[in-house]
Assembly symmetry: D2
Homo-oligomer: 342 residues x 4
């Protein structure tokens, strides 16, 4: 049975990626698209690559008629989502792709995002959207908060290791390499091709990246104690993809076994043979996450590298995966397309 879908904030990259994925989804039907600054325009003028699709024109959110809509993807900017979500009728399920509902704790939100949350009362209801670890809750949820793309990558690498207690929780180091579409379609000097091509640029160093809030929340919850990781993000001269290199104190074989056991039956998370390393491009434009584990010449050290596409598995693909569960569809519906390589 088809499900009627609306996308709020369809003019950004995650909106376009949702439309791309839904273009081959067996049961999702796009019935409304909103885009405030571009309201009134056809999608083909915002994203000419979608011109072959029969899509509704962009409208303003306030002009959206929610009757008949089964599920809304909120691909709105951070901080906008918390203003909109409370006003969505109860019969509509919501997958939010912004950062607004990722943190359970109001104080943590205020600390990481610099102002109080505007819809704290919803926080209790929202389920964190890392599908592989919140599957049952997501099935029953009305609102699911998509994870940060970098936060997803790091959690795929580390959650099973924290749960299995095979690594030192006080010495987790994560070196993040992130392609530029994670920053969205915003006009900033350092995102220009002339600036970023042939470049690599550390940013948000020293423990200031907002996705650390998600790591803190989730890793501490698993461990039953406070866990604080060290993270240095780097911007890459590439459009899509994330590489998270994790430096861990622990036995590499135990690390491998914990990951292998955790993901053995998962459709989207692939653990490579011990010692093999994933490459960023191998998951391009797909919902897959590849994880590699290696030991080191230094005893008691392990390196885990996880890669995924920030726009797909890190954002819009994850959102579809969650929507599938919320709407009673097969979790993998519309998501099994192989990565685009080369």
């Amino acid at each position: 049975m088809p499900h009627n879908i609306a996308i709020l904030g369809a003019s950004g990259y995650t909106g376009a990626e949702l439309i791309r994925l839904i273009s081959v989804h067996p049961s999702f039907r796009i019935v409304a698209l909103t885009g405030d600054r571009k309201a009134g325009q056809p999608m083909a003028s915002v994203y000419p690559h979608l011109r072959h699709m029969d899509l509704p024109d962009l409208i303003k959110i306030e002009d959206l008629d929610y009757s008949g809509i089964d599920l809304v993807f909120c691909a709105l900017p951070h901080a906008t989502s918390q203003a909109v979500v409370p006003s969505i009728p109860n019969h509509v399920k919501i997958v939010d792709l912004s950062a607004d509902f990722r943190l359970r704790d109001g104080e943590a939100y205020a600390a990481w995002y610099g102002k109080p949350h505007a819809a704290l009362e919803l926080q209790g209801e929202v389920v964190y959207g890392l599908t592989e670890f919140y599957r049952q809750d997501i099935k029953a949820a009305r609102i699911v908060a998509g994870t940060g793309c970098n936060a997803a990558t790091g959690q795929f690498a580390l959650r099973p290791l924290i749960a299995a207690r095979v690594i030192d929780l006080d010495d987790i180091i994560m070196d993040l390499k992130a392609a530029v579409s994670g920053a969205g379609r915003s006009l900033k000097e350092h995102l220009l091709l002339a600036e970023l091509d042939e470049n690599v640029k550390p940013y948000s160093v020293g423990g200031t990246h907002r996705h650390l809030g998600e790591f803190d929340q989730e890793f501490s919850k698993i461990a039953g104690r406070d866990v604080r990781v060290q993270l240095t993000p780097h911007l890459l001269p590439a459009t899509r993809g994330i590489v998270m290199t994790c430096y861990l104190k622990g036995e590499a074989d135990a690390v491998f076994n914990a990951l292998d056991a955790a993901y053995g039956s998962e459709p989207f998370v692939q653990v490579l043979p011990f010692g093999e390393m994933p490459q960023m491009k191998d998951v391009r434009a797909s919902n897959f996450c590849h994880i590699g584990v290696a030991g080191d010449r230094l005893p008691g050290r392990a390196t885990v590298v996880a890669v995924l596409d920030n726009l797909t598995k890190g954002s819009s693909g994850q959102a579809i995966q969650n929507a599938n569960l919320m709407l009673g569809e097969d979790e993998t519906a519309g998501l099994m397309a192989a990565p685009v390589y080369p």
Copy 2:
């Protein structure tokens, strides 16, 4: 009803692209993959991005059992295909992606490829695989020859114009910009990232590019007289995509009308509004072709730009489209996924 598919030469880029497209095809089932130098290996070791798929290991062509196989994609190197195709049993349909069966004329083949054709007797039987223009023949064909990727792009731009007699046939100039995957996975110095990144390089200048053989054959056939175009190819610092800029003598509105009329009901070929230009990335990893038409300040001149993805619409996507027709499936089956953008 599922169709059993074999891919010969599955270790090249067009082989990998066939597998990617078939990964979401509703009725194609891959039952055999060959790869001479890599026979014995699992596909996941040749293309780790396919590791989630349940694919047969690579075997040698001579070990392939054709019984039960409905259709074979020949993604073999040029010159190899003509040695293999004659030995394939008659019950097997064949879509050949090499250059071996594109030219109808033995002398033309020998002139462009530097040696006599080894299977001239099959030439009469083979249908040229530009689907939009040979649809009925392809439905009935046992062997279809996939077009050159650049040849496809140029023909989408020009066939309707030659047929409609709206351009001067003696003054067609084509400036080709081609991404590097068109050269395959071969180890050549100028294909190294260090050489090609931040570079653009003309090649096969002066009327020596082999795809000119296809233009000569097809354009002359449509015109009912010899047509010879001028073409300069340029290698781009990009992985996928072709931009063909055509400089024509003719009235731009007549040019636009001829293209618009020709492709009005085509699912994959999109003519943009007059004066708008396509960009290469808008068709990335998809089976779409976008075409733009502009006039010029110089009267009687028109510029037509066509873009497509060389590995998809220019090669493996076209091959699937043809196979769909040959096997009685919907022509668009498995091919309607939106382009990957950004």
Copy 3:
């Protein structure tokens, strides 16, 4: 003897390129840098790659003391230059890198740039800065107008051919591929890496590119009659470089001979052996221009391809070359560094 140099508009790419080139110039000494929006900042905060240099901080133009300054490079935005140049004292020589003084004719300026010129009276005095063709005038000039980067490339390819009357002046077609730094450091969506990487995008089609004004002016002047070329520009996924592919009606050997004769003793313009084609990267970050000529299978056709680096030979390198002449230095001073390859 050192010359005191000021750069107006030093915060743009051409300003930074001027500083880079002057960093190894034997007799130029930077004594002032202006940048309106960034006045008060050290250059190292605008361009950290220059942090090792002992440069003056950015100031506002109105705070610039022209006493003691020998020459000013105006790297201001188009339209700003014509407001500033008239107020520069007469003892100061000026090399203007903007579009403001390239066209001699007020009506032509107004037609191409959409408004009347604000300093028409200076037009008579200004010399067009294509050094190889205006050398004597430049030596004597007080104001030199740097050429458009694309205009320079096309003129290097075609001026000798028009002068030698070896091509049909009524059928000149130029296909331009231009890297993105030609658009400067401006914040526009299509200049983002996520948009342009793996992309090629035609722009200003149909005879609307402003550099056509320069071609019209210069080519007509050489020919002694109106000459109007056809041009289609394409934006490349690269930072620096221009490739101009010219489709000409003429005998290729006559074309080659005309170019070879024109540039035989030029230090910066290199004509490749007949039939060889230049590649964009071979002139990267240098003041060289490479030109290749090929014939075609179609009789009476020639293809000429010229490449240069838009920021160097196309702009700031050309400006230094002109300044050298204006200040009595060797024309090549500070400009003979080999291109950066790979």
Copy 4:
């Protein structure tokens, strides 16, 4: 006084980079170039970007006449250098850019490179070429061994910290991102643009990268005890540049002070203000190294990031710097050109 220079192995990237740098060197004169497979060819056919230079043709090493040569740069492949260097006459000074003479200890060489060294007797004589730390020895040396490019980057980041004892020597983690030209002009599948563009790929994981031999040797020597670091290299979709991100246990301000003190008067190594991070492109095609230091939300942690251009400061620029010292020239001669940005 001019010095006569020969380059052995001039057809590789480090050879081309030497020629580029010497093109503006005030006193180096190239008198011979060797290239075994390309002997007999002019450099312009191997590297067309050098066509404007008046260079000797490539010859075979055995045809090289050493009389009159003051200094030889050996840019030969690893393992070839140790076969050639012993036969070079004593009057010739040698800067070796290969890995052959970097390690002092024969056993260490054999362990890292997989076979015994062929010229062990020279090891005692050779000086390790990290100029900033071996300046006096280099001035007096006949043979200097250029460092690994990654090894140089890591040592610039860490040597002063080990010497100042401000970090925990038992917990040094280095995450390396390296552009592809470090792998040379060799034909390997993973170096193709189609494979590496939009990709990042870990390699030599687990403590197997050969440059670790240099870290072991040098860091242990400084510390007066064995020091073993953990390193994960990643291949970048870029041509030039290295980013070394070091995760350290130590007080960030002490770390900053140690670096600032060490490099305060160095011409090429720039320590950024505390908390600022360098970007890879800011040193492109230059002999500069930029270093940034940040603290962390986790007490007692510091992150140091060093960037340089592998072909310049990491290899050929370093070689020129050393040759300057060996020949009594100013250390910075020919090396002060600003980086190429953008």
